[in-house]
Symmetry: C2
Subunit: 492 residues, 2 copies
Amino acid sequence: MSKKLTKRNEDYSKWYNELVVKADLAENSAVRGCMVIKPYGYAIWEKMQAQLDRMFKETGHQNAYFPLFVPKSLFEAEEKNAEGFAKECAVVTHYRLQSDPDKPGKLRVDPQARLEEELVVRPTSEAIIWNTYKNWIQSYRDLPLLINQWANVVRWEMRTRLFLRTAEFLWQEGHTAHATKEEAVAETEQMNDVYADFVENFMAIPVIKGVKTESERFAGAVETYCIEALMQDGKALQAGTSHFLGQNFAKAFDVKFASKEGKQEYVWATSWGVSTRLMGALIMTHSDDNGLVLPPNLAPIQVVVVPIYKGEEQLRQISEVANKLVKDLRAVGISVKYDDRDTHKPGFKFNEYELKGVPVRIAIGPKDLEKGTVEMARRDTFEKQFIERDEVVDTVKALLEEIQQSLWQQALRFRDEHITEVNSFEEFKEILEDTGGFVSAHWDGTAETEEKIKELTKATIRCIPLNAKEEAGIDVYSGKPSKQRVLFAKAY
Amino acid sequence: MSKKLTKRNEDYSKWYNELVVKADLAENSAVRGCMVIKPYGYAIWEKMQAQLDRMFKETGHQNAYFPLFVPKSLFEAEEKNAEGFAKECAVVTHYRLQSDPDKPGKLRVDPQARLEEELVVRPTSEAIIWNTYKNWIQSYRDLPLLINQWANVVRWEMRTRLFLRTAEFLWQEGHTAHATKEEAVAETEQMNDVYADFVENFMAIPVIKGVKTESERFAGAVETYCIEALMQDGKALQAGTSHFLGQNFAKAFDVKFASKEGKQEYVWATSWGVSTRLMGALIMTHSDDNGLVLPPNLAPIQVVVVPIYKGEEQLRQISEVANKLVKDLRAVGISVKYDDRDTHKPGFKFNEYELKGVPVRIAIGPKDLEKGTVEMARRDTFEKQFIERDEVVDTVKALLEEIQQSLWQQALRFRDEHITEVNSFEEFKEILEDTGGFVSAHWDGTAETEEKIKELTKATIRCIPLNAKEEAGIDVYSGKPSKQRVLFAKAY
């Protein structure tokens, strides 16, 4: 397979699809819409998981595990939630295969092994979890209940794309129960803030915090908070959501608690999740025509060391120096790979690590041996410098921090340059087509206008930003009065 | 719910079921045979995962993720494997629900949304993984391929028990590909050794390493290595298995590689796994009539501090001392909980932490304040001692190590006392009924005898121990000649 990528300005979508495969992140599987996450891609996901898990635990949450399957009768209990996901449900109807009498060596579903009640493969776990919480919650002393689950979920999507929209994906889903509305709303906001903190400070992806309009809300939620990121092609990507569920699930599953005053009250709920979709956001925020660019925080290999040599004796000498460097770098917690494969030339290796987004590359050749130097190159800017050998550790440490910062600044600049205020529908359409990005426009607050604009432009309201100031104006499409601007964009 | 447990010698099985629920480890869910792993149980599983994951990575393995579903045509490709699991397969046949026209507000499976090909929910992932490896392996340079997956799997068992046998369970499954038979066998043995090392040195559970007889082998394997543990009731429990798969899957999925000499050869395979079943082994090795007993390595809370006080002022004074201790213990990496809940009495708390197996309990009362001491109790022996406050950290550190060792020694003694050599079938049955445990007996090597003994005694051959010496003898049942003793037992 050629390592050459399509250029972003030729075909962004093709560039993305190629990059995901060529950088060994993921690939399509034999199961329609389901992906295989390859070791290199999974290693990045593990870094995300580890950091998020720490942040969840620091905010008082514990992990647990609930069943993959949801009996249909539970699934349909919260009607809006059920209605929202019904069209995407994979359904288990049988529990046994048997030899196919018509085809020797083949199997068929055993018609005798039909389940009395069908099982839905969880598209999200509110139903099964709230049915469980019913038994866990009796009194205000049992609250709050702050639980997270790392799991796979299945939503039968018709059009899928690696990481961005797959039938099966990996995620975490937090499900909390509270005694009061205020506490539940505070939890919803806190977890949206945790997501923003993680995505901005760990992944170097700027986001806008906001709430969804009613039509974009999670099925079964009273309010959906979200963080919205902007990709290089000017399309928005919803990076995480945190839902205030009110008492909807408590009522559907009859979950009540005895308050301090001894009254029976319905419990208040939240749920919140981020998924392997974040891998897509990562790729489309930082990468370039040469391949993946990874913030050092997420790089499975932060530094690669490549020897440039002729003959075994030179390799031996270089390896001695390289192994010492590797040891010193590991000692300060930096992940390093020394690639001394003799089956590939240095140029091949350089391209490979460029494609895979390794932040720092160190090359050591015979001249470096003489001079006591190494050549150090950074992936994001391609800048090279020669460094004294005993300055490598300090330089790499500083450089990794600088790259993390620099990627953040670059993404922030791009994002900020792509928020455009418009005051007419003509302008709205022009900006959307020419510049792309977020269009900040007045909206009259009706689902009709929202729908009409979507029909005409494919742009949706990504969010009503939390930091938006009240500002009287008129809706760009309907001309009706509006109280504030919202952010529109085409979206993934 | 009463915290009182059934005693082990009254009804071991009932004791186990009660303990799992009362110690907040897991419970049955609304889905037949599927469990909810509660936060306290999950925290123990996370500790196992973290340690195993480290050990897998240290032996060169990487994590990846493969689809939950296996198309039926792939599933049936390796016939023995397919035949072995066909009876336990949950099958997805449809991908959509719709409103039920006959029952307003209810859903039904949309008959129009039938899948062209049914999807099996993975009972194990050889099929989907080897279908993927086909594209990853072309040359000897691509080998070995050393991959592990943390995942949920589903096996539709008719009789289920929490952790021991559940329809859905969590596990890891390693799947490796090698250029030679020798290398694949070495990998199979290495991973069985990794499991033994983990289970013995981390979980304090002694195991016997061996290989399975043909009839107990993994479906599709050439050889199944295993580690077998012994529970307190004298029944064996298979704690982990590592399979040498030969070229069976390579042939079924046509996975060949170009050797160094340029020849096309089939790839050699292994797979190996341990699951949440290990939680059952943990419980049934160390726990007692008062509840769970946890080796400190696996305890989510290693030390609990309980204040004994009257009135707020006393609590304030005790808390000052307690908080300092908590800080000092955490500083050396010990996980501590300070339980100053005012809703429960000390006696209640003592019972709760006993039930949950917290290894060390520290109580601080007004007299301790005066004397500058604390009362320290260990969970495993119930021994108590008074300790000077400034000796707490060192004492706890030493005590945790001692408890880990002591549990290991106790389990080892029990296990060794329950391996009995027998030389007649009368003796065989007597030992099995009276003492239980492993019965070491001569076996003629035939499946018929193995089956007959199972029929008559319910005992199966747990393994042919790797360290067994050759020893001529006669089969205890058939009287035919035998070359070595094997271990029989009743098993979970």
